[in-house]
């Protein structure tokens, strides 16, 4: 009969009992120094993974405060051989025990990410108080425009107001939109939280007709109506909260990075804004082909939008591909006669707004 000297702790006192351990059928028996246990091998738990040449600490599922230390040797090898689950390895129960908590953690993470970054922002954007929208807009505007000057030439400003009124009509609340031109040397337009729409001077320079500018502004009005910028801002706050929560610190995004994130809308949001713009132009009898021409002229001047690079850019950028956007622009429905957006005088004044 193979047996071994061993050390046993009963979990009640710190006395190290010198015991003898031996196997009896499917049980291990521990006896000596006023201790006596008979443990079924099936209930043995290894505190660490067994390794050859090293002693092994064991406990039993019926008495988990106890410890049995078996020295390295033939007896320990026999115990491990008779009790395969001590080696760990792959068992259904063990795998479930490891995988289940992690699956729960990952599912929880996914749920948190969805709630914080998708569901909540889109819903909260509509219930955000007016004062918060304005304040967010002011902060974003300051960070976006930086040193750039607002273009305030009086005749140009009057023409800009006329353009806004032509698009918004009489139904809009008086402060629903706040259309501004800034002297920024890139061709672009932005919809900010709170209804502020920033058009760059370069965009107005590039446009050949007032319909082109009107199309771009209509698109940004779509972003405002759908509260896309507000949702973006809430998404950034949610992201910051998550980062703070996970790292336990305050690794806040920089202001500039945050602004870019707020103003980068998803492709779905861009499509929504495009549809809104086309709808609005039809309602106001504005020729949408102006917007089409504007997109086409953008395509001509941007080498990256051609060929392989153009396709890659279409895939990675948040705006739907230029071709796709041009494709959905159809002429006004039959029976609607386009009316000019601005008089020739107003258009010339608008072109000089930054001058």
């Amino acid at each position: 009969m193979i047996s071994s000297e061993a050390t046993f702790f009963d979990g009640e006192i710190a006395f190290d009992r010198k015991v003898t351990a031996w196997l009896d059928g499917a049980d291990i028996i521990i006896a000596g120094d006023m201790a006596e246990r008979r443990w079924p091998l099936a209930g043995l738990i290894a505190i660490e993974r067994p390794a050859s040449g090293r002693s092994l600490r064991l406990t039993h599922e019926t008495a988990q405060a106890t410890r049995l230390v078996l020295p390295a040797g033939p007896f320990l090898d026999a115990v491990v051989a008779a009790t395969p689950h001590l080696k760990g390895g792959v068992t259904l129960h063990g795998t479930l025990r490891t995988v289940a908590p992690w699956a729960a953690v990952i599912a929880g993470l996914a749920a948190i990410l969805y709630v914080f970054l998708s569901f909540a922002p889109d819903k909260l954007a509509y219930v955000m108080p007016e004062s918060w929208r304005k304040r967010l807009g002011d902060t974003t505007l300051a960070a976006l425009t930086g040193e750039a000057k607002q273009c305030l030439n009086p005749q140009g400003t009057a023409a800009l107001a006329a353009l806004e009124k032509r698009l918004a009509g009489d139904t809009a609340k008086p402060d629903e939109f706040d259309l501004r031109v800034y002297n920024i040397p890139i061709v672009n337009a932005f919809a900010l939280p709170g209804g502020t729409i920033v058009v760059t001077g370069a965009l107005i320079d590039k446009a050949k007709t007032p319909e082109e500018v009107a199309g771009v502004v209509a698109h940004e009005m779509g972003h405002v109506s759908y509260r896309h910028a507000e949702a973006g801002a809430i998404r950034v706050f949610g992201l910051q909260a998550l980062i703070a929560a996970f790292t336990g610190g305050n690794d806040y995004l920089t202001e500039f990075g945050a602004v870019l994130t707020i103003l980068r809308f998803t492709r779905a949001a861009e499509r929504e804004a495009d549809a809104f713009a086309l709808d609005l132009m039809a309602k106001r009898a504005i020729d949408p082909l102006g917007l089409k021409r504007f997109f086409e002229s953008l395509g001509k001047d941007t080498p990256l939008s051609k060929g392989v690079f153009g396709q890659i850019e279409g895939m990675v950028s948040t705006h739907p591909g230029l071709d796709e956007r041009i494709g959905i622009i159809k002429p006004l429905p039959a029976g609607v006669t386009p009316r000019p957006v601005l008089s020739e005088t107003d258009w010339q004044a608008l072109r000089k707004i930054c001058g």
């Binding site: 009640e12 410890r67 993470l109 902060t139 909260a241 336990g248």
Partner: protein
């Protein structure tokens, strides 16, 4: 009024055991292979899981380091689980971190970024963190002791984390009010709780002594430190004066956006801070070594009295080594920092006298179910 008997009187009688006798106590660090591999796996999984794995990583490192500490030939065993730390984190996330983030966001949106309300809120949060700092330390120690097994017996803390938190906060305030002179007395108070309320099974640690013997060394370090600060200022002013007009030239160029000058200024400031911290560290290591060995001498366990052979040189070497490991591994080498720390303790702590270890009975204190949420949030709590 009902008289409640002390905790141990409630414990069932110790089952008849063999006759026990006091024995000397020996603490050794017996290194094992595998810490490097563990560190690597932990680092990878921590990155992949967006830091959520850190609780399991911490647990694995503790299991390793604990098992290297042998007391009278029998290793310690760490029985904590990553899930317990994760639960503690979730609690603090829910009751502290998320409310703070949400409230400060709402305040910022309602009043704008530089409104007094926001400043007041941040001050309140700072105050709350200072008040709960001690609680975080105490609860972390209590959790770790309750998960430390030696010969099948676990440790515990018997005092109140609230009381400790209050004393710790008081010490913080007093230190700034007395320009540091309350430090030895208040550190004594803190350790009276932190060590004096520690138990291993049924046997308490006791901490008893006076702060008086520390004040000589403290005074020397305090005045030398003051002299070092004054000296640094004098040297700075003299350098500036000897440079004369060149300095105005330098700042004029800097204000015009000279990158070279900005780099030079950054380098100089960095070097000055490094030099200053090094000088302060060297100076104060004399006091810290003194405090460690005096406090160890005040600590008893049964009939054994502790001795801590802490020397200024070895402390500085330990600190610099750990600093370099942390910097060079971008913080992922933390397990080795902790190993060095525990090893230092094991190598230099000895116990004089005989302790009847065999007679220690299991602790009857309730055990925390989740651990260290606050300590994780504040990034304190030792290993």
């Amino acid at each position: 009024m009902v008289l409640t008997p002390p905790m141990d009187a409630l414990a069932p009688p110790i089952p008849p055991g063999p006759v026990t006798a006091p024995e000397p106590v020996r603490i050794d660090y017996v290194p094992r292979d595998g810490l490097g591999k563990l560190t690597l796996v932990n680092a990878l999984l921590t990155i992949v899981t967006l830091t959520i794995y850190r609780f399991w990583a911490k647990t694995n490192v503790r299991k390793h380091i604990w098992s290297c500490v042998h007391v009278n030939g029998e290793p310690l065993e760490y029985t904590g689980r990553g899930m317990e730390l994760f639960k503690g984190f979730l609690v603090v996330l829910g009751v502290f971190i998320l409310p703070v983030v949400v409230i400060s966001t709402v305040l910022q949106l309602t009043f704008g970024p530089e409104h007094p309300a926001l400043v007041i809120f941040q001050l309140v949060i700072f105050l709350l963190i200072s008040v709960f700092w001690g609680m975080a330390l105490y609860r972390a120690r209590r959790y770790q002791l309750s998960r430390t097994l030696w010969r099948g017996i676990r440790g515990t803390m018997t005092g109140s984390p609230w009381m400790f938190s209050l004393i710790y906060f008081g010490a913080l305030i007093l230190r700034s009010l007395t320009l540091g002179w309350s430090t030895p007395a208040m550190n004594l108070n803190i350790q009276e709780r932190m060590i004096g309320e520690m138990r291993f099974g049924s046997m308490p640690f006791r901490f008893k002594g006076r702060a008086g013997p520390l004040y000589g060394q403290y005074a020397i370090c305090w005045f030398l430190s003051l002299a070092a600060i004054i000296g640094l200022i004098v040297i700075g002013v003299m350098l500036a004066m000897s440079a004369g007009d060149a300095i105005w030239q330098f700042f004029a160029e800097l204000s015009l956006g000279s990158l070279r000058n900005a780099l030079i200024l950054f380098g100089l400031v960095f070097a000055a801070i490094l030099l200053f911290s090094l000088a302060q560290g060297l100076l104060w290591s004399f006091y810290i070594a003194k405090e460690l060995s005096v406090f160890a001498g005040y600590t008893t366990f049964g009939d054994g009295r502790f001795r801590f052979d802490a020397t200024p040189g070895s402390l500085v070497a330990l600190a610099i080594g750990n600093f370099l490991i942390t910097i060079l591994t971008l913080g992922f080498g933390l397990p080795f920092v902790q190993q060095r720390l525990v090893r230092y303790l094991c190598d230099r702590v000895t116990v004089d006298g005989m302790v009847n270890l065999d007679a220690i009975a299991q602790s009857r204190q309730p055990v925390d179910r989740a651990g260290e949420g606050l300590a994780d949030a504040f990034d304190v709590g030792g290993i």
